[in-house]
């Protein structure tokens, strides 16, 4: 098992191509997860029992099954119903839906943490439901959630290699194709591992800062 720096230099440009897709998928997936999570959290609070029950069960189902199988489902099953998605789009939808069910719990906790008095004050000021949410509840609920949300986005980032299974050319897929072309696994696989390790060590620092900046609830 010998490490060849020349080989590393040779494959690095290809891997960087993959890094771009990995980061793109993470960013798009995070945006989608943030939106889906909020939608699920709001639907579960719905007065309509049928809506809250159904959404609750679906979220539970998505959280209890593997992301990889969900990606296969989106990529292989949906075309049978006429929905043909490019790999990256399918991957982003999979990531967004899966992590949306996790971020929904973060939103739920954040919304529950807004004191009752705020709801009553909104009502006393004669604000409508939409106004109450956008002007009173969400502005107070969202800042304390930011560290927890960021935590899930980092977790999502570490799951992006799964997209290689549905032929997205992200970092892991580029590394696999390089490895299969040259029959050398040590450098590509180790570089991928090192890349994820470095990013997640940085993200620990970022998380600490976010917790410091937003984590405290002002009462």
């Amino acid at each position: 098992m010998d490490w060849d720096w020349n080989f590393v230099r040779e494959i690095l440009p290809t891997l960087i191509q993959g890094v771009k897709i990995t980061i793109l998928a993470t960013l798009l997936g995070s945006v989608l997860a943030a939106i889906v999570g909020l939608a699920i959290a709001l639907a579960r609070r719905s007065e309509n029992r049928a809506v809250s029950r159904t959404v609750g069960f679906l979220a539970e189902f998505i959280r209890g099954t593997p992301l990889l199988v969900q990606l296969y489902f989106i990529f292989y099953v949906l075309p049978d119903f006429g929905i043909l998605l490019p790999p990256l789009v399918a991957g982003v939808i999979g990531l967004g839906l899966h992590y949306g069910t996790y971020t929904a719990e973060v939103y739920r906790a954040g919304i529950d943490n807004v004191p009752r008095g705020q709801w009553e004050a909104a009502k006393a000021c004669n604000l409508g439901a939409g106004q109450t949410w956008t002007h009173i509840i969400l502005p107070q609920a969202i800042p304390p959630m930011i560290p927890a949300l960021a935590n899930y986005f980092i977790a999502m980032f570490k799951e992006t290699p799964l997209l290689s299974a549905i032929t997205v050319l992200e970092l892991m897929n580029q590394a696999k194709s390089v490895a299969n072309t040259y029959y050398r696994y040590v450098e590509p696989m180790t570089l991928v591992g090192a890349f994820f390790l470095i990013i997640s060590l940085f993200s620990v620092v970022l998380l600490r800062w976010l917790e410091h900046r937003y984590g405290k609830i002002e009462r």
């Binding site: 969900q70 489902f73 099953v77 570490k158 290699p161 696994y185």
Partner: protein, 219 residues
Amino acid sequence: MTQWSGYLGLILQGALVTIELTLMGSVLALIMAFLAGMGRLPRFFIVRALATAYIEFFRGTSIFVQLFWAYFVLPLAGISLTPLQAGVLALGLNVGAYAAEVVRGAIQSIGREQYEACIALNLGRWQGMRHVILPQALLVMLPTFGNNAIELLKATSVVSLISLADLTFQAQVVRSQTGNTLMPFTTILVIYFVLALVISWGVRSLERRMARGIDGVRV
């Protein structure tokens, strides 16, 4: 109409492999969790540093990368693993790192007065741990362990990518043989979900059993 019963048998065989992997992975994860989690407590710097390095490394890189590393890179160092061994190793070490933080947190959550009581009763370090601290800490750990076990179950789907014939792999086999996508993927999604329900039900009933006798003690 294709013979679904035969294909269903194939998928059930895959379910057995998934269950086997989950069980063996959980055992390894449990061992690593206690080793690394308690390894972060003592005064010796070396032990703490080793445990921290293990936890950060395995939480920082993704399970997929670790699995490929175990399967493709370790053989070059002379350690050849079967897909099953590589799968159990990667899953156990990965989830063990997450669970180690649970062990540490639970042990540290036990109040100082309990440790003082151990000293007052002249119990040794090990005796105090075994008879006083752990029985209480285990109860704190259990719910999170349940979540970790479900994460492990979900992560087992990744081993299908190193050609281990688990649920996801068999679904792909059925897909390539019949061309039907809806039936295999829906079936395995349901099976994964049922397995996840079984785990959370099992952990809840275990929690009830273990809580017997120490109900009154906990505040």
